[in-house]
């Protein structure tokens, strides 16, 4: 009897139901409701109104209609995708290269590893402002190019180049994280594969192509996903460097929304945020599900 009762209590505990009283959950719940759930629901409501922060007039879906009519929304979307694509590709390529270098036997490996990670921990706004100065038409970068007889472009003031310049700076800042993820991936590859390859007489290039690259796939996927999500809500770097300019040429979705907020179109910018929220969910939820399933297979 004694043992049976003990067993049943333990079983109940394992199912995790009544072991702790519910009120222990309330502080966390209150914070969650106050800081997340309430603003989310409130923003859904305010996105349907014309809102001046003091009063709001219900206008149905007009804000959404207006948001999708925004002349620079499409350009912002395209720019956002270009930004996400450039940064993903470059971070994968450069990150893998740096990781290969930093897992080989080179001098000052520990030091180099920390140096390449350093930009990741610096604030994006600080990096943005610094590079804005460096990228001025007569700034350090162009002066250096001039020493080699190259006329540097107007990195941030050429409407065709501004977005790409910002993306390059974002790569500079983010490549350290990609490198660290790749280092972890490479180090985790069992030595047996490399030994087997050596016995088969593989060249270093074949080693890379048929062993390292395929076995780093999870790392690559992680980096790409992180970048796509990060790229979709890119804001600080663009705002610090160009403010979406010149004109509207480097606007991304988040900067379009921010400018609407700045102009006092609170309802409209809330509608924009709801759209961005849904947009990211639609992309990320299936992606995550797909990835999790894939990992289960392997």
């Amino acid at each position: 009897m004694e043992g049976k009762r003990l067993f049943s209590t333990a079983g109940k505990g394992l199912r995790g139901s009544a072991r702790y009283p519910y009120w222990l959950f309330t502080p966390a719940a209150l914070i969650y409701v106050a800081l997340f759930l309430f603003p989310t629901v409130a923003s859904l409501y305010f996105s349907l109104t014309r809102w001046s922060l003091f009063d709001s007039t219900f206008i149905g879906l007009d804000n959404f209609a207006q948001f999708f009519r925004e002349p620079f929304l499409i350009k912002g979307l395209v720019n956002t995708l270009i930004f996400a694509a450039i940064t993903s590709v470059l971070k994968v390529v450069l990150g893998l290269g740096c990781a290969l270098l930093l897992t080989s036997h080179i001098i000052a490996r520990g030091y180099l590893r920390s140096v390449i990670f350093f930009p990741v921990v610096v604030s994006a706004v600080g990096v943005g402002i610094t590079f804005t100065v460096l990228m001025e038409p007569t700034g350090v970068i162009n002066s250096t190019l001039a020493l080699f007889g190259v006329t540097g472009p107007g990195w941030l003031i050429d409407p065709n180049l501004a977005l790409i310049s910002v993306a390059l700076v974002d790569v500079w800042k983010g490549v350290g994280l990609a490198t660290v993820i790749y280092i972890a991936g490479i180090v985790a590859i069992p030595k047996d594969y490399f030994e087997a390859a050596r016995i088969d007489g593989a060249t270093p290039w074949q080693n890379f192509l048929y062993v390292t690259l395929p076995l780093c796939r999870p790392a690559t996927v992680t980096i790409v996903i992180l970048n796509i999500i990060g790229g979709l809500r890119t804001f600080e770097m663009v705002w610090a460097m160009t403010g979406g300019g010149p004109g509207f040429s480097s606007d991304v979705v988040a900067s379009v929304i921010y400018k609407q907020y700045q102009s006092g179109f609170y309802g409209l910018s809330t509608a924009g945020n709801v759209v961005l929220f849904v947009f990211i969910m639609v992309l990320v939820v299936p992606l995550t599900t797909w990835l999790n399933r894939r990992e289960g297979h392997e």
Binding site: P159, G245, G264
Partner: protein, 428 residues
């Protein structure tokens, strides 16, 4: 005793110090004043504050600055909305004043005795929709148009243009001479890109006198009214003709003033706030700067677009209303004008009775005839509550050749529609 700032919570020692301090400086009141960061505005605020504190030893004023342009608009709106505004703040009159809900957030100053001394033309641009006057002029009236370097004009034997055609001919001569850029544009500070368009309003209303009214009602658009579209076209023409300084995209307002003052550039479309800045930074070169209004297509019709100055306002949230009102009264008095004169002089006639412009720089003398002969009109933002917030990005796009004038005008009409709806105006 208002100096004790939440002293109770900060431990006994701080409390003791505060009590001691307030015992020594009885009735000392500290006000906070927010202005934008432009050097001429700061200089004016400093002069006014210094004279005011000298006259009122029991009141001290702490100054804060904020960025200009859209960033500053956002800051003002947010601080007002979150009830964290300073006791006094300086902000635009006209349409931007209307966009901050003045009827609900600002103190009504209609009954103040100094109102009798203020020009009626100014009162209208700080009057909220309920008919209450809520601000006092923080500077003289001014004008927007083309400031030019008279030294270069003399060297090249140029004459002040009366029509757009003559203006473009002058630009060509300057370009051919190869020494200086004909027209200065400074798109790093995007707000400067709007002045050519806004300063052209005299020409718009000369051809279409009821434009402001119809525009406010949503009946008239920039894209469809040819005289209004013309303002956008002028911006495009300057770019297409290659008359802009090479670094127009990366130069800022300060660069523009430098280029104008030392003759690297000849024409700078800007408002007369520029004169105060030049007086501060390049006092020796102020005599080389002249002014003419933005020319229209007809040389017979030549007139000035007038800007009303920023105003000082008191938000409802102030806890020192009487002291704040004292400062506003000082700003709106002849003593306040004296302080303004010391901070770089006037850029146009004073708006306070009993204040006379003295030793006006040449550029202001060039403006005065237009003030006197009536060939002037307020800029559109003082005649209509609607100003689209994206105008500066649109004018940068048109002025850089990213967008055509027609595209820019159509885009601006869309921007204006959003603003009108946000303001809740009828007919939109």
């Amino acid at each position: 005793m208002k100096i004790v700032p939440n002293g109770m919570l900060r431990g006994a020692s701080i409390l003791a110090i505060c009590l001691f301090a307030s015992a020594v400086q009885a009735q000392q009141v500290t006000l906070s004043l927010l202005t934008d960061v432009a050097p001429e505005v700061v200089a004016r605020a400093e002069a006014l504050v210094a004279d005011f504190e000298a006259a009122n030893p029991d009141i001290s004023i702490e100054m804060e600055t904020r960025p200009g342009g859209a960033e500053g608009d956002n800051l003002i709106k947010t601080r007002l909305a979150t009830q964290s505004m300073t006791d006094l703040f300086v902000y635009n009159s006209g349409s931007k004043f209307q966009s901050i809900n003045p009827d609900r957030l600002l103190v009504d100053l209609s009954a103040e005795p100094w109102q009798a001394d203020i020009q009626p033309s100014f009162k209208t641009v700080v009057t909220s929709i309920d008919g209450a006057v809520r601000g006092a002029p923080f500077a003289t009236s001014s004008a927007g148009g083309i400031f030019y370097n008279t030294r270069v004009y003399a060297e090249l034997g140029l004459e002040v243009p009366k029509s757009w055609e003559q203006f473009m001919a002058n630009n060509q001569t300057i370009l051919d001479a190869g020494e200086a850029a004909p027209v200065i544009q400074t798109y790093k500070d995007a707000w400067t890109s709007q002045i050519l368009l806004l300063g052209d309003y005299f020409n718009v209303q000369a051809a279409k006198p009821d434009f402001a009214k119809l525009y406010t009602e949503g009946q008239e658009k920039f894209a469809t009214e040819p005289t209004a579209l013309r303002s956008f076209e002028k911006l495009q023409e300057l770019h297409d003709a290659g008359f802009l300084n090479e670094n127009y995209a990366s130069a800022g307002y300060d660069d523009g003033l430098r280029m104008l003052a030392n003759g690297e550039g000849v024409h700078y479309p800007i408002t007369s706030g520029a004169l105060r800045a030049i007086a501060t930074t390049y006092p020796d070169l102020l005599g080389d700067i002249g002014f003419f209004p933005i020319p229209g297509d007809n040389a017979e019709i030549n007139g000035l677009t007038v800007w009303m100055p920023q105003a000082v306002y008191i938000p409802n949230t102030t806890s020192n209303l009487d002291a704040a009102k004292k400062f506003v009264a000082f700003v709106a008095s002849p003593a306040g004008c004296e302080a303004l004169k010391r901070a770089g002089g006037g850029s146009g006639p004073f708006l306070v009775a009993g204040c006379e412009l003295e030793n006006a720089p040449p550029a202001v003398s060039d403006m005065l005839p237009f003030f006197e002969n009536g060939h002037n009109s307020p800029a559109l933002e003082f005649l209509s509550p609607i100003k689209g917030p994206a105008l500066e990005q649109i004018t940068v796009s048109v002025g850089s050749g990213i967008m055509t004038a027609a595209e820019g005008a159509a885009l601006y009409d869309e921007d204006v529609r959003k603003q009108a709806q946000q303001l809740g105006l009828p007919g939109w």
